[in-house]
Subunit: 406 residues, 2 copies
């Protein structure tokens, strides 16, 4: 297959490119490198030293003989160039990772909110409009998140995308309708994913586009079979308060002897998936394309759920790190249950990698190896969800102590 | 009250400005005049000769002694200027009309789709982000549409915004949750209103913004008590295939002896409201502001529903015009029931104006008076929802005959 990978320079995009290239597909990376610019803006960098995308493609060719083509293009801002690109390359499938993906970044300031909405909505809508306009019948696979449902659910199992509801008709009977599972996004970033769902529903219905939306859990880990092939193929590893996801952050904190920072009671349950499983799931979803006229296929892409404080305790047991409880800068319920259905991927043959000591240790090893590159001042979380919460976090003595210690 | 009216130069915005100015409020119009540019792009014009906004404000001052201030500003593209503007003027309420509002225009081409999404989502989101950032606790009143639910509903009564659904929890009990009534938008324009709803829900929940969303039916008529005060205060009157709404278009067609063009069987039921009631409803909603922390208030702003073919027959009886049935360029069910609840406005004291011969005749009079300004080639509908439908409309002999006759 000829596959366009939008956002292929990112944390999940890069190992996906390698995995699918390795499987024999023709891979085209489309990226505006905005994530690297955001590193520059924030003054942070990947823990793992990351070469330019051009250099990474060159090394992959050297190591495997396979070609990765890189195209520098902003899919949110350059609609006409993107459409022309599609027309020229006619991909069989498009995998769409190209969005601003950090909830804390999306809440940093009004500028960041405006950027996130503008970038993510236009990116997704441009892809849809260009597919319709060019008439290219590619399968579109998008990465969404289970976070759209809000973490403060009432303790119901999260089904795969749809909810049957009974609606009373005028004649008094109750008719069952399948609706998009109602969302309750908890950040501007999550909100954009909730908007994406409506865009997909419309274009699948109006134009028969074939779309799969993968509601992914929090990705952890760093290596896949392919990134291990050469030191310069290493994946990016974010540990800062904006882009570092919770488990990766704990492992870094442990590696440098910093306390594991749990926000609130740590009673929030989150869904997780290892990066290796993430790329496998994307491949499985790719092979199982919906037909024209079918509704959007929604899969939950996760393998296990954990409470944040249980994870902290697990990492603490493994590494001896202390745990620090800090005020929560997010607006969310302190404690919640979460049960997520992932029957579709299990049915497609996914054999989940779970949080094993071996893999956790591997991440700690990566962290230790590059510990000299860690900027400790970047480890605390920095964005607060509202102005009130910002003030509260700011006043907290423990948070203050950590900030000055770092 | 000091009221900012975003999109105050438009069809509903202008009479709202006059109505609220007349009621003694301090009115600030914010508009980028994009609707006038779209007239230029399409080569169409309002049936009624429309002066510049500056001139209209001058006349209002002359006639009533009251001041309307006009501010030229693009709220979608100029976030920083808009924020500074808010900070300077500190309105008590913001009424937000400033979106691209024609479904056919939003479906004309990919460029129009991209523009509509970009303009509408950023406009709404910028207003929300700027209110949070400036800390201005203004009541935000937005104009939405009942069209978000899709016209192909199953024949259920459309409640005012929310639907209680039973969700089964992990412990096996069923908990009732109020969710946003599920949408099924039928055009890119309607889709943007469905996106707006999610933006409102988030900002009401996260930041306590006070928001009322008015799901309006199709507006008909042209005069209100204030626009009648002076010929140059007349409201705009769109009759072209993009911006002309169905009843106004029938009345124009009748006035110039053109057949009333019904698409498909005309079995689609739509909700209607007269422009005079529209401005009254906005005033009522304005006075009934939600409290901080309350969920978004959603009102259905309509007074009656009719099948399109029944409306055509009514206008035909009144005027002797013929009816022509043409293929439907929209993708929608041919026949549908529609019952809409509007209990909230009735409770607030709305006394609806219904389709009376008198008012219909008044519109026909307006149309006759300006008949010399009608460009007959602009009367047929021109945008098709999909490429297949475009081809079908194009081949239809009756549609072809009308196009060449006009
Ligand atoms: N990492 C996770 O834990 C996680 C969890 C759930 C969902 N997701 C989703 O998976 C996708 C990829 O996540 P990631 O962790 O790899 O993020 P990332 O930020 O590392 O990668 C995103 C890539 O997209 C590019 N991009 C952004 N906007 C673009 C634009 N307008 N035009 C072209 N390229 C653009 C960026 O430069 C970057 O390379 C995102 O959509 C994210 O929401 C990620
Ligand atoms: N007219 C109807 O029948 C009807 C029905 C239901 C809902 N509505 C809604 O009511 C609102 C007003 O409708 P209308 O018929 O008056 O439309 P309109 O097009 O006549 O007016 C919209 C006004 O907003 C301005 N505008 C658009 N984008 C802007 C931007 N980025 N910055 C500043 N100004 C901008 C335009 O220049 C125009 O003056 C719309 O949101 C529409 O969706 C209208």
């Amino acid at each position: 297959m000829k596959i366009a990978i939008l956002g292929g320079d990112g944390f999940v995009g890069w190992p996906t490119c390698l995995h699918l290239s390795n499987a024999g597909h023709e891979i085209h990376i489309v990226d505006n490198l905005s994530r690297r610019w955001i590193d520059t803006e924030l003054g942070v960098q990947s823990l793992t030293p990351m070469d330019s995308i051009q250099e990474r493609c060159r090394i992959w060719k050297e190591v495997t003989g396979r070609k990765l083509q890189f195209h520098f293009l902003d899919i949110a801002k350059e609609y006409e160039r993107f459409k022309a690109w599609l027309q020229e390359y006619e991909p069989d499938a498009v995998i769409h990772f190209a969005e601003q993906r950090a909830a804390p970044y999306s809440m940093k300031s009004d500028r960041h909110k405006v950027y996130t909405v503008n970038n993510n909505v236009n990116a997704t809508h441009n892809v849809l409009a260009a597919l319709v306009e060019t008439g290219i019948d590619a399968h579109l696979v998008h990465l969404g998140t289970m976070g759209v449902y809000g973490y403060s659910t009432i303790g119901a199992a999260i089904p795969e995308g749809y909810l049957p509801v009974g609606i009373e008709t005028l004649s008094g009977e109750t008719v069952e309708q399948e609706i998009l599972y109602p969302t309750r996004p908890g950040s501007v970033y999550h909100m954009t994913k909730s908007l994406d769902q409506i865009l997909f529903q419309f274009y699948a219905q109006n134009d028969g586009l074939r779309i799969t939306d993968l509601h992914q859990g929090i990705v952890w880990g760093t290596h896949t079979d392919q990134t291990r092939l050469h030191p310069q193929l290493v994946n990016r590893f974010d540990y800062d308060g904006d882009y570092g996801t919770v488990l990766n952050r704990f492992l870094i904190q442990a590696a440098i002897g910093y306390p594991l920072t749990v926000h609130g009671t740590g009673g929030q349950t989150r869904a997780f998936i290892h990066i290796q499983d993430s790329v496998r799931c994307i491949e499985l979803a790719l092979q199982d394309a919906p037909k024209r006229g079918e509704r959007v296929r929604i899969f939950n892409q996760m393998t296990e759920t954990h409470r944040v404080r249980d994870l902290a305790e697990l990492v603490s047991r493994l590494t001896g790190a202390e745990i620090a409880y800090l005020p929560n800068p997010r607006k969310e319920a302190e404690e919640n249950e979460l049960i997520v259905k992932n029957d579709q991927f299990l049915a497609l043959g996914l054999n989940p990698i779970t949080l094993q000591d071996g893999l956790l240790t591997e991440v700690v090893e990566v962290a230790k190896k590059f510990a000299h590159r860690i900027d400790r001042s970047r480890v605390p979380a920095v964005s607060a969800w509202t102005k009130d919460l910002a003030a509260r976090v700011d006043r907290d003595p423990e948070h203050r102590a950590l900030r000055t210690a770092s």
